[in-house]
Assembly symmetry: C2
Homo-oligomer: 382 residues x 2
């Protein structure tokens, strides 16, 4: 097996892109990643394969077959290309396939690009499309949205652990604070604890400031077997039940725990070695559960890291360092690749005002459905 | 790199399955493949990963995230799982990802399952969904269906090479003849040359007997690094333009030619070494173009193999040996795995009345869109 390195990264702003098509968004990210790669490797690196990550284009844009769409538009005709889908975990899952291909030695350079375009579709259709990440026959067909399912989990968390809703406030405060200096973030406004407490309900107890904005965006990562300053030290994926009602325990993010565990084992490290953790805060309850599943807090104590202000850039475990899903935005199939791009900036020391001091080891984790699928990658500064 | 072998295969009948859900169809194929694997390996082989192939479930069944859906329903909770989409080439693309994973040594046993369920949706919606394999902005949005695009290609073929429509008759005759003994085939009725000539138009010059039936079905393949009687000697993929109007040459299936060429090179063989070729006869014009692209006929002469009856089970290049897409049926995302399962039966000598005498080397090729994406696999009897 070859070692696998990050040769380049590229992002478009996350937000509303009514004037750009799917292919244009994806190309913007690929183009930025190509320029970054040229800078890092000191020359061009022709890729042999393109892995596209996307969740909803077939449903919302009448466009499947994104691997070909993007390869063709990017002038890469002939290259091999496929689309990888794992709901919210699509970006991580596509990176994992590319990682395996490069590690295998069969491919020297692989492009991974995640893209999502949803804001020019009416909200009800977006909700319906997003719900296809759940169990169509037994959940979505009954009208349950992802936010409603996440609300059930949060309700159970508050009940079981006897905490109040406001202990989650700092996840939103931290995310928005870190987004302020991020030109790619959708929401760069500050959020206060008071605003969090006042925010209107989405799916009780989940409020407007517990939930990440689903938006448009694209991010790209170039993987290579040629040594660079950032190495992919581990790649792992795991699943849980698709439907929430099949879980013996609503409060264990088992897939996230399995995927983190496999990644730690592969990298030969543990949570104490992680300097920065880009977690999947689609909802603030996900942030707490992810911190617990990845070993940064005991079960039922994930919120404590937020309350104790241990999640900031220079604290115990920095998360949402460029705004996270909450403030940078959540372009679903692309999100996992924004995480990797941001983590790469951290480990290169190129994060500017968002820099985590001395970051050498980082983990990114993305989640599909209500914890049904998790992909973990550990990156290290080489 | 490890050698990669086929440990087991499983198929459900292709056709209309109104009484079975997506997960039940997929499970049926996986269960059959598990039993086959147990017989072949003399014991169970726990898999570490599941690759799901599907093209249309998000659009037609409101169900994405099929990797988790299937893994969960099959009792494989915790396993890693993702969905691979490449339109009609999804099955081959998923097999390719599994091949890379096993060849890399990172995974010993991988499950690949393709599933499609479309016949309980009204035809207009199926047409719209199938059209997402093309260019949404510049083709599908104008109302062009895949059959209409294939019709343009066939019209051009007839014009450029000066042949009449009836030279394609034997592709349908051969497919239906071979489907008669295949219990998994959708159409087991014989088709005559006379019936072909009389068949009503679908998208001129494509008639009812030029086009394969889009249907429900599931097929599964288990890959392993443990030696068995069938080895995967090559795996390759390539792309072409997404939109037909971007092709400098409508009559070259460039992606198919590239993918076959890469596969031949990897296996160290050429077309003369292939005993059986499961090609992607979504339309009879695809059969002719695929035979040309894979080197079995000169350009403009693919139809000649049909006219000369060189495509039968005991002839020069047997194709559609269990009925092909035309008569076995075309459950889009699953089709590439039916091809692999059927080829495996041929190389094991287990094809019964459909056996190609002395088959030792076989190629399967599936196509996404109008030749926009092609995946080729070469299997050899070990």
């Amino acid at each position: 097996m070859s070692d696998v390195y990050i040769a380049g990264i590229g992002m478009t702003p996350a937000g509303e892109h009514w004037e750009k098509s799917l292919r244009e968004l994806a190309f913007g990210a690929l183009e930025a990643a190509a320029q970054d790669t040229e800078r890092v490797l000191g020359g061009r690196a022709p890729a042999e394969a393109l892995f596209a990550a996307n969740a909803l284009a077939g449903q919302l844009s009448g466009q499947a077959h994104l691997g070909v769409l993007i390869a063709d538009f990017a002038g890469l005709r002939g290259i091999e290309a496929a689309t990888i889908e794992a709901a919210g975990a699509s970006g991580g899952a596509a990176l994992r396939q590319a990682y395996i291909a490069v590690a295998s030695g069969q491919i020297e350079t692989a492009l991974v690009v995640g893209v999502e375009k949803i804001t020019d579709t009416i909200g009800a259709r977006v909700n319906g499309a997003a719900a296809t990440a759940g169990d169509s026959d037994f959940e979505s067909a009954q009208g349950v949205t992802p936010a409603a399912l996440a609300g059930l989990v949060m309700q159970r968390y508050l009940h079981t652990y006897g905490v109040s809703h406001d202990v989650f406030a700092n996840f939103a405060v931290n995310a928005h604070a870190n987004a302020r200096a991020n030109a790619n973030a959708m929401f760069r406004n500050a959020v206060t604890r008071e605003a969090y407490v006042r925010a209107g309900a989405v799916a009780d107890p989940i409020s407007m400031l517990d939930v990440s904005p689903e938006c448009d965006g694209a991010a790209a990562v170039v993987l290579t077997s040629r040594p660079t300053s950032v190495r992919v030290a581990a790649s792992a994926q795991a699943t849980d039940t698709l439907a929430l009602h099949d879980r013996p325990d609503l409060l264990g993010f088992d897939a996230a725990q399995l995927a983190s565990g496999r990644a730690y084992k592969m990298a030969g490290i543990g949570p104490n070695d992680i300097d920065v953790f880009e977690l999947f805060d689609a909802y603030s309850i996900f942030a707490a559960l992810s911190l617990e599943a990845a070993g940064f807090a005991e079960r039922g104590k994930g919120w404590q890291l937020a309350v104790d202000e241990q999640i900031g850039l220079d604290r115990r475990i920095p998360i949402q360092t460029f705004g996270g899903l909450k403030a940078r935005g959540n372009p679903i199939g692309a999100t996992g690749l924004y995480q990797i791009a941001e983590l790469t900036l951290q480990l290169r020391g190129e994060a500017g005002a968002n820099q985590v001091p001395g970051a050498r080891v980082g983990m990114a984790q993305c989640i599909g459905g209500i914890g049904s699928n998790a992909v973990s990658h550990i990156l290290v500064a080489a």
